[in-house]
Amino acid sequence: MNPLDATTTAGSDIDQTADELPPRFTFPKWTSVAIGLFLLALAINGLIRMDISWERMAEGPANIWDFVTGAFPPNLERAPNLAEAMLETLEMALIGTAIGVVLSVPAAVLAAQNTTPFGPVGVAMRFMLTVLRSIPELVWALIFVMAVGLGPLAGIFAIAVDVVGFAGRFFAERIEEVERGPIDALRSTGATGIAVVASAVMPASFASFTATSLYCLEKAIRGATILGMVGAGGIGMELTPAFTLRQFDTALTIILMILVVVFLAEQLSSLVRRKMLGSDQLQRAV
């Protein structure tokens, strides 16, 4: 007897459903279908409501070609002025990040569940960090331009607030991951809560805090380049007029400058991170 036949027969005798090959496709749950249909309806409604002009879309490639031909070669006449604006952007990012990181440390200690002095304070602080993070940097810039007027100060505040929202959360998460042992060891000497945080929690978190801060700086530099578009200082203040006045060659110079600075910031950040982690950690492990 063919062994395959035997198996088939035995299988059909025992429990045919258990041996069935699973179907290639199963119909999705009705909730998934409903969500999918809702999103599709929203998108179709949007297309109808926005009254998208196909003629204007057709003009797009020609306009982009205008930009490309107008942008080359980049205009270097105003390079010294633009470099100064770029420097202002970098300084805004650096000062804003520094303020944000310094404020993030106490905020994180209050927010982390293992170091907060009082449960409700932790909840309130985590909520505040969520609010700071949820509002985009550009909106913060608009708020601070209204509060302190046009210029880099508004940009610095916007960056600092954004950094607190971001770094505060990541610092707090790192604090919550700190090993319990050294904390208990210092508590058992009768040390105060502040001393335990300063002597056991901070040293264990320092490397992670530095990596997060560098990422914040990188992010702040990227963000600071456009804050000027809403009047909050830096190179962005030059970018908007360059486009509105159709000075595409100047606009390209600005874009190239942003590209170089962001690239350099990323390289610097990876270099510091590499130095900090050591070569062993970054060697291929798999």
Binding site: G190, A191, A195
Partner: protein, 268 residues
């Protein structure tokens, strides 16, 4: 209100102690225990027998559920925050997992031992610590034979060396009682012996009360004099090591109670 007590030289007095964790596990059941000044007690028991929990109740790193714990004339169960801090300063701990701050220097870790009695923020780091604390920390490191490692990061030391640094940190605390929680469980036998020798020497020369939990029977035989054994949260044995048969000790790690083991032994 914590009560002051001067009866005899008992430095630890535990009566009717129970501990039930929030998970419902009863870790300690009606424990009664005393230790006198300068005495050395080895706490024995299998994993989960409650010996570490009992030890942590002595300075309320674990909150007792009921019963009384009096340590150095302080009623630990009712002590307020300040009284608890004062007590903790006098109770040194040596942990199974060593628990040094690995990212900091050996000297800083030892200086940290003084944080309870010298809470100046300068003592958060060895580099900024006051000269008297730095000198004292170096002296403690000399005592454990590791003065030459003072500037190294704690994580660069071997496990045995790290545990000796933890002993130096405990010395820096100038304690009256030392609680050692399986201090050599994470070390190889040779390093383990060196740490045990050092711990016993230091507590003896400074006339400290030592309560040391162990689970290695050979170490208990080699170092123990008074043995207190726990089984499933109960105090099972409290006697001198010379009064204990090997079968009784080994029985701590089986499901039979010590009485059963003794009876079975006698019946043969």
């Amino acid at each position: 209100m914590p009560q002051s007590d001067t009866t005899g030289s008992q430095v630890i007095r535990v009566a009717g102690l129970n501990k039930v964790y929030s998970t419902g596990t009863q870790a300690l059941k009606d424990i009664n225990f005393t230790a006198t000044a300068g005495e050395t007690v080895v706490l024995l028991g299998a994993n989960g027998s409650g010996k570490s929990t009992l030890q942590k109740c002595f300075n309320r790193l674990v909150e007792p559920t009921s019963g009384t714990v009096k340590v150095l004339d302080t009623d630990v169960t009712s002590a307020n925050k300040q009284q608890l801090k004062t007590l903790r300063r006098q109770v040194g701990m040596v942990h199974q997992r060593i628990n040094l701050v690995r990212e900091l220097s050996v000297l800083t870790n030892v200086v940290h031992g003084a944080l309870g009695r010298a809470p100046s923020p300068r003592n958060w780091l060895g580099a900024t610590a006051k000269p008297e604390q730095r000198d004292e920390a170096m002296e403690a490191l000399h005592r454990v034979g590791l003065a030459h490692t003072a500037g190294k990061r704690a994580e660069q030391l071997s496990g045995g060396q790290q545990q000796r640094v933890a002993i130096a940190r405990m010395l820096m605390q100038r304690p009256k009682i030392v609680l050692a929680d399986e201090p050599v469980a994470a070390l190889d036998p040779h390093a383990g012996r060196a740490v045990m020798d050092m711990l016993w020497e230091i507590t003896e020369e400074q006339n400290l009360t030592l309560v040391c939990t162990l689970h290695q029977l050979e170490l208990a035989r080699a170092y123990g004099s008074r043995i207190v054994a726990l089984r499933e949260g109960h105090l099972d044995i409290d006697t001198h090591i010379s009064q204990l048969a090997d079968r009784q000790l080994e029985g701590l790690y089986t499901s039979n109670s010590t009485e059963q083991v003794v009876l079975e032994g006698a019946g043969r």
